[in-house]
Symmetry: C2
Subunit: 154 residues, 2 copies
């Protein structure tokens, strides 16, 4: 059930819960270290996101419990006569809350944030292996129009 | 020939030249209006990019002449223990300078910017129809690991 769900900006003390959700996923577990205390680099990244006017980290809450997360990035550009777009990434629903429409509700809220801000489009990239995710986003109206390419430096 | 090419941050007065290059392309021509004077929205977008610590618009110059352009965006995130990544977009080489290795030289410079800044990876999305571009980026070491999805709001 997504009733009563609300998105709010993440606080520093939410970070362990957020990282646990990000890591709880076949791809995520290769990209995270869930330790207590959390590696300090996570806090530095959180502070960079919080300090950036172009970025926002959100959590989804139901009755005060964190049930999901996502990051939004607003990018100014020249295409379409100088349109701003919003990128969505690091979307996760807590494992015990999956398959209840929460992902859809979180995405709908995020898209509404882009709309209110006047963004011309919303974009995201999803690993080629996440076929279920692609279908999920297509049902929300996204089209798989692009190829996402990556060059690892570290 | 890419000898003597250098990247520098774009100035406001470069904007008509940049927009002409962006528009001079099968997909770009649907997304731009090349008029004199340029629609004011372009200048607003330029100012937003210039004011953003996360974004930079570059031109490539040879002997003082603008021969290419690209935009870089730096995005903090939690993946990979809080790594920053660099996105590349709106890459264009002036038509009369194409097929001379300039695109490769511009990309190499951009990747070097990411490296010096300590970015963990470089990302870009390319329209699914731009098969030549995908091969170009693959030769530079990029892998087509993701699907890029888009939802138009306007």
């Amino acid at each position: 059930m997504s009733a009563g769900m609300r998105l709010r900006e993440a606080k520093r003390e939410d970070l362990p819960t957020i990282v646990r959700m990000l890591a709880d996923d076949p791809l995520g577990q290769q990209r995270h270290r869930v330790e207590d205390p959390l590696p300090q680099d996570y806090y530095a990244a959180f502070d960079a996101i919080a300090a950036s006017p172009s970025n926002a980290l959100y959590v989804a809450e139901i009755d005060g419990a964190i049930v999901g997360t996502l990051q939004l990035t607003f990018i100014p550009g020249l295409d379409y006569l100088g349109a701003e777009r919003m990128m969505i990434e690091a979307v996760r629903v807590a494992r015990h809350r999956r398959n209840a429409g929460l992902g859809k509700a979180i995405l709908a809220e995020a898209i509404e944030i882009a709309r209110r801000r006047g963004c011309q489009r919303v974009e995201l990239t999803s690993s080629a292996s996440r076929k279920d995710a692609h279908r999920f986003y297509e049902r929300l109206g996204f089209t798989a129009s692009h190829v996402g390419m990556k060059l690892m430096l570290k």
